[in-house]
Symmetry: C2
Subunit: 220 residues, 2 copies
């Protein structure tokens, strides 16, 4: 049964525990459930998540690489969350990176990726007219992710995904202001048009405008 096999392959639950633990701890740190300075005692976490130390320690190593914890040999792991300063820095870094990314992406985007961008933008229009804000939040992220991947720049993609994830836990925009969706759609259309006309300068300008306004929307 190829169908069943297919479904099994995609839904299969043989994801390593270390990955699940990594995501769980990442979530707990970014959501400030675990706070900066907290000691992460392996045995306690093992009991909490009901796993052995082997996959847990692997998850800790990944968190360490991402800078979300700091470990001192033979002493243990300590949470290193994001301070308000970190968030502010991260925001600025993200803005710069997004602006760079749009130039790279316009230069390197493939036909298939362009179609993906088309599709994503159409969804964006659709859900804007539906006024479906939760859906829009996802589509918004997806739109930017398409751009990230279109840069075909491995390191930049990794950074941008990290920035997007980390910042998604910080104070959200004022989604429910009356013009929110219309403004956002307009700004994305400008970016989208730059891809259609293959105009890097226009793309940079549009992204810069979008980033500026995103910041404003957060704090107005």
């Amino acid at each position: 049964m190829s169908i069943i096999k297919y479904i099994e392959d995609n839904h299969k639950k043989n994801r390593p525990l270390s990955l699940t633990l990594f995501e769980r701890l990442q979530e707990d740190i970014l959501s400030n459930n675990l706070k900066t300075g907290d000691k992460l005692t392996e045995s306690k976490l093992c009991k909490e998540y009901n796993v052995s130390r082997t996959p847990l320690r692997e998850a800790l190593r990944q968190l360490e690489s991402d800078g979300l914890i700091e470990t001192i040999p033979n002493r243990g792991a300590f949470v290193a969350g994001l301070s308000p300063q970190d968030v502010s820095d991260l925001t600025e870094l993200r803005n710069q990176a997004e602006i760079s990314a749009v130039r790279w992406a316009i230069e390197r985007i493939t036909e298939k990726e362009r179609e993906e961008l088309d599709e994503t933008f159409e969804f964006m229009q659709f859900y804007t007219h539906k006024n479906d804000i939760p859906k829009m939040l996802n589509i918004n992220k997806a739109f930017h992710k398409v751009i990230y991947n279109a840069t075909h720049n491995k390191m930049l993609i990794k950074s941008l995904n990290e920035y997007q994830l980390y910042l998604s836990y910080t104070n959200p925009s004022n989604y429910y202001e009356p013009n929110y969706l219309r403004e956002v759609l307009y700004e994305h259309r400008e970016i989208y048009n730059a891809f259609l006309s293959h105009d890097k300068d226009a793309g940079e300008a549009a992204m810069r405008y979008h980033m500026t306004n995103s910041m404003k929307r957060k704090f107005r």
Copy 2:
């Protein structure tokens, strides 16, 4: 015996095996000793390095986070080294990041860090006059690292250190050209002066100039 204790504490060999393995494998991948696509079979690596699988797997998780390997669950880890395209992209990213960094650093540098920069630049002058190229390579890296840290931007520091490390394995500059050291010293002096005058625009311009010339020196 406080002295002995001190020396022990610093030279102590109780660094986790996972860290040693991580550095070793990182080196092997960046130096292209392990090539893109190579399968990393745990048991083989264990035999090669004479360790058990536990610390080895922890090292693999860190390499994975850094994007130097890719692991497929239940299938194993595969080397994902840097293609020429990656190196080119990385170079451009590094250049942009260095330019951003110098602005941040000039704004945020502490007195202590300024002194460190003074000292490093003095060493730079000293070894330029001595014409000691190997020493200069180290001082050069150190000078930039002082700037990285002076940004006090956690993420940016992490990225820049990664860029510097990764690119240090790529084709080196033509160090032994007659004017190499003098040119490099001049360019760093311009950057250094911008710190003294606390002039971000001058700093950006100087770093931009330095980056441009660094590229030229690589390929002339």
